[in-house]
């Protein structure tokens, strides 16, 4: 193909060879076009729009056109305590949900790994993975119904123990715990899956050697399982971290950030600023900052991936 094209375009100048290569690759571009167009329309353009808006004062309720105000939005973000608390709340939430779902998920993974011959294992695994397969929005609705103080099953069970109806979502602390636990419930299975994948990467011979050498369970975990499983586990935890950082849908449907701002995670805060207060400028500014943080986590993820390539 190369030889043919060089004879077809003799003494080709820069422009002509560029056009020629475009023609040759026309088929390739044609195949890529739908995806690229969608990517541009729904990702690149809104992204540029958002970055631009973050330098403007633009509140829809005032009816004024956007006014360029430089880095004022960023400065006000730095000085606004409710923005700060959205950030700190989000990081605390990330820490708790990642560690809890990581811990519970890995333990379940170990249990399922150690029970390969148990009857009903497959059914149990399938059931375990169900929460992960549900849309977060429907999970939010389910739990909102279950936590409903009048007819929710969880409230009913709580009444059996406390003697009175409990409205979990109307108290700050219990609403926060509810959001956290729903998220853990939804994502612990993901960590179970990751753990099972990680455990499958441990060579059989090493596990057998550990039994022969009479290693205790802790020594086996530390010296045999962990060195092999750590890479996949780390990737799983990082994916969970990136995901937890973006959590919005469950909060939106379960508590809408309330009561007050007690469950207002970053995504929720941006949503409220943009769609409730219609303050597009400040919402965009927070969006940009959130994006930069997410890029940070993603780079870390890619860095870890590259480590494995060097090692392997």
């Amino acid at each position: 193909m190369n030889a043919k094209s060089t004879t077809a375009v003799p003494n080709a100048g820069g422009r002509r060879s560029f056009m020629g290569s475009l023609g040759r690759h026309g088929f390739v571009w044609g195949l890529l076009a739908p995806a690229l167009i969608f990517f541009c329309v729904f990702n690149v353009v809104p992204l540029i729009w958002m970055v631009g808006l973050s330098f403007y004062n633009y509140t829809l309720t005032t009816g004024n056109p956007p006014m360029f105000n430089g880095i004022d939005n960023y400065l006000s973000l730095l000085s606004d305590p409710s923005d700060w608390s959205a950030f700190s709340r989000t990081f605390l939430f990330m820490l708790l949900t990642v560690s809890l779902s990581g811990l519970i998920g890995s333990l379940l993974g170990l249990v399922f790994w150690g029970s390969k011959n148990l009857p009903g294992r497959r059914i149990a695994l399938t059931m375990l993975f169900t929460p992960m397969l549900l849309t977060p929005a429907s999970v939010g609705v389910f739990f909102k119904l279950m936590l409903n103080p009048n007819f929710g099953v969880i409230s009913y069970i709580a009444e059996l123990f406390t003697g009175h109806r409990v409205d979990f979502l109307s108290h700050q602390m219990s609403a926060q715990i509810a959001v956290l636990l729903v998220d853990v419930w939804m994502w612990a299975p993901f960590m179970t899956l990751i753990t099972l994948a990680a455990l499958a990467s441990v060579p059989q011979a090493e596990l057998e050697a550990a039994r022969v050498d009479r290693l205790g369970w802790f020594a086996t975990l530390k010296r045999v399982i962990f060195p092999h499983a750590k890479f996949i586990l780390m990737l799983g935890l990082l994916l969970r971290t990136i995901d937890a950082f973006k959590t919005t849908d469950v909060v939106l449907l379960l508590t809408h950030g309330g009561p007050g701002a007690s469950t207002e995670l970053l995504g929720m805060r941006i949503y409220r600023l943009g769609f409730n207060s219609l303050d597009m400028g400040n919402a965009s500014t927070m969006g940009v900052v959130a994006l930069l943080i997410a890029i940070g986590f993603t780079s870390l993820y890619l860095y870890v991936l590259s480590l494995k390539r060097v090692e392997g």
């Binding site: 022969v212 050498d213 290693l215 010296r223």
Partner: protein, 383 residues
């Protein structure tokens, strides 16, 4: 250090029989090689002894004690796998020390422990690397660490599952030397699985040859080599393996002595097989096989008494100036031989071959040894 006994061990995987009622004894402080082609059941047998597999039937005894239902950890064994297993993040020394620090790791004092590990490290040529973290070691050194760790508790038996398959030749010899030394110096009972017959010949006190889940040979290496009980054993050991040439048995009593005449194209004169001294049994007349090793055949001057004519079909240099020859007798029986060092005998040339009658072995058509000395028919009848 223990005596290991197997009683009618049977194990199948679906239609494949990996062990067919195998009974044998591994003597205390001996090094036994389990040898056989891929899929003969040697690894299965090893894993049953280790407790990593459960037999369908039969018993495993350690020093007379039934351990068939004991778990791996309670059997007191050491094991070295094909894949070098080391415990990451620990030094070479700490790897050897780890089993001693576990439950049932013995009760050596700290100084005894150090002395013992240092001795193992020196046998395995690892002293210089004692304080190196194992993660940075090459496969060869890792396997040496695994060998040391397997013997460090002085378990009842140490099991090797093709340990040098994944290491380079130099290291292979070094590891084999280390294993041999461990067996000799500390009297460790060792079971060693390999499919490499040379390795088995070098290492073993006793070779057990398996074929399709059955033991076909069980003897000292030299005996398995010289007097294999089965045609399979003769063929499997040696490179190239033993030649089997069609022979004919017919009833031929000599005076009062019952016996058979053995005729074969490589024997200028028939040989004579006396009846079994004790039972007086004689093999069935008809087709049989003559077994002779390639190095027991010589090319001789034409006209040498007892030589038979034949042709060299092809020749290949095998090193040390020796030639591997593919030959055929005038009557069309094919055989392989190794020539003495010297000039290329050339392909497709007529030669005279001398088969040493005194070492000729007789096998039934099914490949079972008829283990009696053959004599020349004109020789005096043995008293």
């Amino acid at each position: 250090m223990s005596k290991i006994e197997l009683e009618s061990i049977t194990k199948s995987y679906g239609p494949v029989v990996a062990a067919n009622a195998i009974s044998t004894v591994f003597e205390e402080s001996s090094l036994t090689c389990l040898l056989g082609p891929s899929g003969c059941g040697k690894t299965t047998l090893l894993r049953i002894i280790a407790g990593l597999e459960t037999p369908d039937a039969g018993r495993v005894l350690f020093d007379g004690e039934d351990v068939t239902n004991l778990s791996v950890g309670r059997r007191d064994i050491g094991m070295v796998f094909q894949y070098p297993v080391v415990y990451r993040g620990l030094t070479v020394y700490e790897n050897l020390e780890l089993p001693l620090r576990q439950r049932g790791g013995g009760n050596m004092s700290a100084s005894q422990r150090k002395e013992w590990i240092d001795r193992l490290l020196s046998i395995l040529n690892l002293t210089a690397r004692a304080n190196q973290v194992v993660d940075g070691l090459d496969n060869e050194s890792r396997q040496k660490v695994a060998v040391g760790r397997a013997v460090v508790r002085r378990p009842k038996v140490v099991i090797f599952d093709e340990p040098v398959t994944n290491v380079a030749v130099d290291a292979k010899i070094e590891i084999q030397r280390g294993i041999k030394q461990l067996s000799r110096e500390i009297g460790q009972t060792i079971l060693y699985v390999t499919h490499d017959q040379t390795e088995a010949m070098t290492l073993a006190d006793k070779i057990i040859l398996l074929q399709s889940g059955n033991i076909v040979e069980s003897a000292k290496p030299v005996d398995v080599y010289n007097n294999p009980d089965s045609a399979f054993g003769g063929y499997f050991l040696g490179s190239p393996g033993m030649n089997f040439i069609a022979a004919e048995l017919e009833r031929a009593d000599r005076g009062q002595a019952p016996g058979m005449r053995v005729k074969c194209s490589v024997l200028p004169e028939p040989l004579w097989l006396p009846a079994d001294d004790a039972s007086g049994d004689l093999p069935r007349p008809g087709a049989a096989l003559i077994g002779i090793r390639p190095e027991e055949i010589q090319i001789v001057e034409d006209g040498t008494p007892g030589a038979v004519r034949g042709r060299v079909k092809a020749a290949a240099l095998v090193g040390g100036g020796r030639w591997f020859l593919d030959c055929v007798t005038a009557e069309g029986d094919e055989f392989k031989m190794l020539s003495a060092a010297g000039a290329d005998p050339g392909g497709d040339t007529e030669k005279s071959f001398l088969f040493r009658e005194s070492v000729v072995r007789l096998y039934s058509e099914e490949g079972n040894r008829i283990a009696r000395a053959l004599v020349r028919e004109d020789a005096d009848v043995p008293a």
